[in-house]
Amino acid sequence: MTRRDFIHKWFVYALGLLPVWVLDAYILPRYPLFGAVVPMLLPLAAAAVAVLEGAYAGTGFGMAVGLLWELAYPGGFGGQVFFLALAGMAMGAVSQYALSQSFPGCLICSAGVLGLLDCLRVARMLFINAAGLSDLLQVAVPEFLWSLAWTPLVWLLFRAIYNRVGGTKLA
């Protein structure tokens, strides 16, 4: 794959990330489910690309998604960049060696990354004594399920991109 093909490929993936980001940051927060829950779509994008492209590309794309999350959303403290890069690497490796590069694989990886994110948030809130476990779970569980419900849409989008420019197709 030439440098030009490489840039072309990742430019198309970045374009794919754009509607996910707009939906996640500006559209869905206006219409929360049952008046309370908004989904997290960015980790799903990282999971989909990691499953399709493998560990190396998953690390890079995870890092890019993490950067976007930290810089374009309020209240960032830096941790998401490393977390999503690490998660991208892990999800890519798991899909390469243990699961398949398919929708079920993506669903399992998405569930993993969303679950881990929510667990970390709950642990942090418990650590700073911000609320009780039951109150935190009332937010974490619907958030996890509602986010996971968006996996097919995000998968279809990135699967379509992969079919056009993914892997070594441009080579």
């Binding site: 707009v22 940051a25 500006y26 908004v38 209240g75 941790g79 998401q80 809130m125």
Partner: protein
């Protein structure tokens, strides 16, 4: 393992770690100001945010007009009745103000002056997370907005406090957010307490008035205002109404649950209080 990491992006992981540390350190150092990287990204994306917000507001307006016409008609009639009531009250207030001035002159007291400097701003984005309640505004440090400035509606109702500012954007921590902490006072009884965000109440769209005095006799519907204690925030800004009074699990203090007067999900335009001066 070493080979696996080498082949699978250990270098990228190290870069990600360094970026995380850099962003974290910058956030710590900058305080209420956005770190330079966030500032650039949010400044560049501000027009996109504004455009999407305007389009979504327009679509919601059309949807409301088409599908909620009867509701809007009823609301219009109610509002007209309220305007008539308020006009009558205003006439009474004008009379009361004249009387107040005369009495102040009689007692040789200086008039109470409340000078507020405003900056109007549009709400361009709402909370993107279920773990906090924030709004993003279309104005920032370039317009003189600073972290800690109060944000109110056109009717003077408290919306929240500016938490972070960038060049042409700012983030507001709303009254129900868990980091809210300011003096509050019940208008009817003058019972003072501390307005605090609470995680469980935030998801119901409410907040707490904590550390109420022992003898405070509050009833449901009592109006709560900012007390202005500490001179950090202006006094007398309506926050909401008392829903109920409860005792803390420790049994030592009582708190009131407050329903905010502001409708956070339908805000389009707000006013940032850039400066205030209250002279008694």
């Amino acid at each position: 393992m070493k080979d696996f990491l080498r082949q699978n992006g250990i270098l990228l992981l190290v870069i990600a770690f360094l970026l995380s540390v850099l962003i974290g350190a910058l956030s710590l150092v900058m305080g209420g100001q956005a770190d330079p990287l966030s500032n650039i990204v949010n400044t560049v994306t501000a027009p996109v945010r504004g455009g999407i917000a305007a389009a979504a507001d327009w679509v919601e307006g059309v949807y409301g007009y088409v599908f909620h016409y009867g509701e809007m008609d009823r609301e219009l009639k109610d509002l007209r009745a309220q305007v008539r009531e308020l006009e009558e009250k205003e006439r009474q207030w004008e009379e009361a103000i004249r009387e107040n001035e005369q009495l102040r002159q009689l007692l040789d007291l200086q008039a109470r002056r409340r000078d507020l400097t405003f900056e109007t701003a549009k709400v361009t984005a709402r909370s993107t997370s279920n773990w906090e309640s924030t709004l993003t505004l279309s104005k920032g440090s370039g317009d003189g907005i600073e972290a800690g400035d109060c944000v109110i509606t056109e009717t003077g109702v408290l919306v929240g406090v500016v938490a972070e500012t960038g060049l042409n954007w700012s983030t507001v921590s709303t009254v129900i957010n868990t980091d809210t902490e300011m003096g509050g006072i019940v208008n009817r009884t003058f019972s003072a307490g501390v307005l605090e965000g609470d995680f469980a109440l935030m998801n119901q769209g409410k907040l707490k008035l904590n550390y109420l005095p022992e003898g405070a006799q509050l009833v449901s519907g009592d109006e709560v205002l900012t007390s202005g204690r500490g001179d950090m925030f202006p006094s007398g800004l309506p926050v909401g109404q008392v829903e109920g009074v409860f005792t803390d699990p420790s049994g030592q203090t009582r708190y009131a649950v407050i329903v905010p007067a502001v409708k956070l999900d339908s805000l389009i335009e707000v006013f940032v209080i850039k400066d205030f001066e209250i002279v008694e």
